[in-house]
């Protein structure tokens, strides 16, 4: 083990919901990476021909995978919204405690609403031109 001193870890701080948003940013970022790999696989299926694409779309339509896709959608949308919050912070704005907490509420509400919107749009797009 490295003998150099360590800073106090998470346990010494009082819990604040803003902490949850911070760790969620990381988790959703990693989940979005998996989503990117899935997107690549989907593009490769589309480039491989109609049979491969039909098989890929069948694989994506099973209930479990559909649930997973909703999860990826939320991860992506949340990371997008909270990422904009981070970009605002990078300009030196909205760093006061009250503003950070208000921003957290805005991000969570926006992420849930936009996830619902994208899922609804996705269902519509799936129904359109169904074979």
């Amino acid at each position: 083990m490295n003998p150099r001193p360590l800073s106090p870890h998470l346990g010494v701080y009082k819990f604040m919901y803003t902490m949850t948003l911070s760790i969620l940013h990381r988790l959703t970022g990693v989940a979005a990476t998996v989503g990117f790999l899935l997107f690549t696989w989907w593009l490769m299926a589309l480039a491989s021909g109609s049979a491969a694409y039909a098989a890929a779309m069948r694989g994506l339509s099973t209930p479990l995978v559909k649930l997973l896709l909703v999860g990826f959608t939320f991860s992506f949308v949340y990371h997008f919204c909270n990422g904009i919050r981070h970009l605002v912070w990078d300009t030196g704005r909205a760093l006061e405690r009250a503003q950070a907490r208000r921003g957290a509420v805005v991000v969570v509400v926006a992420a849930v609403a936009l996830t619902a919107l994208v899922v609804w749009m996705g269902c519509t797009a799936l129904a359109r031109g169904a074979p």
Binding site: R26, G29, V30, L46, A54, F80, G83, L87
Partner: protein, 125 residues
């Protein structure tokens, strides 16, 4: 005259190895991804996902294929930078850390090349 701090001189640990490059590129790619992802999601979901001909016809158009390729490259880059930080924070030991970083780089690079290749196939064949 040395510009190093007395503490830095005593510790003799050198620099961290790089400066602000990682942080900056994470922001550059993040800003680029805002319009690219917004456009892609809205445009994609306006098309019939189940129709092979419909999807191929849409993605193969020059003005769709080019921004999609930009999206793929930027997304892979941003993702690689983010995953790098996660690995550096949670994987301990130089060997394991290096191995995971290598794996992440290879996977991201391979995925980006495959996705770009797929879009080129749709656009050019």
């Amino acid at each position: 005259m040395s510009l190093r701090t007395p503490l830095g001189k005593v510790l003799g640990r050198g620099s961290a190895g790089d400066g602000v490059g990682h942080w900056w590129m994470q922001r550059v790619t993040a800003i680029a991804l805002v319009p690219l992802t917004l456009w892609f999601v809205i445009a994609l979901l306006g098309h019939p996902l189940q129709s092979y001909d419909g999807m191929r016809g849409w993605l193969g158009q020059p003005w769709v294929a080019v921004p999609t390729i930009l999206l793929i490259v930027t997304l892979a880059w941003h993702s690689r930078l983010g995953v790098q930080v996660v690995i550096e924070d949670y994987v301990h030991g130089k060997g394991a850390k290096t191995a995971w970083l290598l794996l992440s780089t290879f996977v991201h690079f391979a995925a980006a090349v495959a996705a770009v290749f797929a879009v080129l196939v749709l656009a050019l064949t």
